[in-house]
């Protein structure tokens, strides 16, 4: 059997010894040693779809961007509507280069005049450098390296977290706020990366173990590794930076146009606006789509997409076996004429051809929390 060798110098998470004590198998990811699994990826995946899974995502960069007119300054780097952003409402946005290519995807939440921003782990240092060079002097970025970040995801997540932090289940989907817990302030938002209801909890690193213990002490909660995080987000149709998004892709190609509102479309003023607005009007040359694949064999990142005559019309950027659907699924980019759901295409991996069809995403329906209408 073939093996992989990885021997870079890696950082440790605040919960490093906690993961090892809970049977986490540590692998290199985003410059850290991180738990890829505890009991097994499929079991952890299905547990999260049915109960509540706790993920340590402390490798991600938590930033506080402050200074008067931080909102207007951020709008010169991203296509989000920050000036009119409501307080405590996380917004998905994209850091763009001058050609409209995606430098990173992130969540930004207004907290008064400040913005709390969570960026990807592998890109955080580059993001900070890029933003610092471009933001005006009176807008300052604090990298909150003393904060850990935990996510609790799944249909029972609210029930579990409410027993530890009363009041969290009052949050609406994509709403955040500060909560007091054991004399410390936690920043909690109702959001996540699995397609399920759930929360993301920013906690001082020194209190992270105590909080993790309190969460997994609940019989409905278990620690979940990176492996299931990847299969869950793939089923939810959510792109992963560095795979499904990079500087060669734009928000329009990636199908992330919901992150550019009416005002920003009308006003422009973000990097790559000329290209992005043209793509919005005329359609992009390539689009991110989902694929359903015949058979059982996973088709993964790097596989080619071919039309009926064998011409290369795209590439797979993420793929794997869906534990919920018990079949292989994938996402990738195809030339626009082939992006319609139902289009039959071939995928080529290691010299072997697979029959596949373009399908709408998500593969597994989202089940985000919706507050019941008031009577």
């Amino acid at each position: 059997m073939s093996e992989i060798d990885d021997s870079a110098i890696l950082d440790k998470l605040p919960l490093d010894s906690w993961h090892r004590a809970h049977g986490g198998r540590m692998v290199p990811f985003a410059g850290y040693e991180m738990p890829v699994q505890y009991e097994g990826i499929i079991a952890e995946h299905l547990w999260t779809r049915e109960n509540a899974g706790m993920f340590d995502v402390s490798h991600m960069g938590q930033l506080l961007i402050h200074g008067r007119s931080a909102d207007a300054a951020l709008e010169r780097l991203m296509p989000g509507d920050f000036q009119f952003a409501a307080d405590m409402k996380p917004k998905y946005s994209l850091l763009l280069d001058e050609d409209g290519g995606i430098i990173d995807d992130l969540m930004a939440t207004r907290r008064g005049d400040d913005f709390y921003v969570v960026v990807n782990g592998a890109t955080k240092h580059g993001d900070i450098d890029y933003m610092q060079r471009r933001l005006p002097e009176d807008v300052v970025i604090d990298y909150m390296r003393q904060q850990a970040l935990l996510a609790l995801q799944g249909p029972r997540a609210a029930e579990v977290l409410e027993t530890i932090i009363p009041g969290v289940s009052e949050l609406g989907f994509m709403q955040g706020g500060p909560f007091q817990w054991q004399g410390r302030t936690l920043w909690i938002s109702r959001s996540g990366y699995t397609g399920e209801d759930g929360f993301e909890i920013s906690v001082p690193a020194i209190a992270a173990e105590t909080l993790a213990d309190a969460i997994v002490a609940h019989e409905l909660a278990k620690p979940i590794g990176l492996g299931a995080r990847d299969s869950l987000r793939l089923e939810a149709g959510l792109p992963l930076y560095g795979h499904d998004l990079d500087t060669r892709t734009t928000p329009v190609m990636a199908g992330l146009t919901f992150a550019i509102n009416k005002r920003r479309r009308a006003e422009g003023g973000f990097p790559g606006a000329l290209r992005i607005l043209a793509e919005l009007d005329n359609g992009p040359a390539e689009k991110r789509v989902g694929f359903e694949i015949d058979g059982r064999q996973p088709v993964r990142e790097g596989a080619l997409v071919l039309d009926g005559e064998g011409n290369e019309v795209g590439t797979i950027t993420s793929g794997g076996f869906s534990p919920s659907l018990q079949r292989p699924i994938a996402m990738g980019y195809v030339a626009a004429p082939f992006a319609e759901p139902g289009t039959a295409l071939k995928l080529e991996q290691r010299g072997k051809l697979f029959d596949a069809r373009v399908v709408p995403m998500p593969f597994v329906p989202h089940r985000y929390y919706r507050k019941e209408a008031k009577p």
Partner: protein, 123 residues
Amino acid sequence: MSLYFTKEHEWIRVDGDSATVGISDHAQEALGDIVFVEVPEAGRRVSKGREAAVVESVKAASDVYSPVSGEVTEGNQTLADDPSLVNSDPEGQGWFFKLKLDNPSELDGLMDEGAYREWIKTL
């Protein structure tokens, strides 16, 4: 019958000039949940140290190498429908293929069971 292992974590159980090949318990543990297995068909020639089968976990695809050269007499078709047998019974029902050995002296460089179980403790 004698059981041997390779440094690539395949096992081979030999009975005269016939043998059964699979991957070790250590290998399935390292791979994690196995979701796909492709085994060679009867009649295919396989060579010592060359890829003979494919095993895919949720995370990655790996080649399985033949511990010896020979002609495949049977592939384990059960694995197509139930690849998780490789996780639950890797050195039994989760076997990959059977073959007829070309040259039994190719077994000389392989580890016996005791040596393999000791060696993997050092990994």
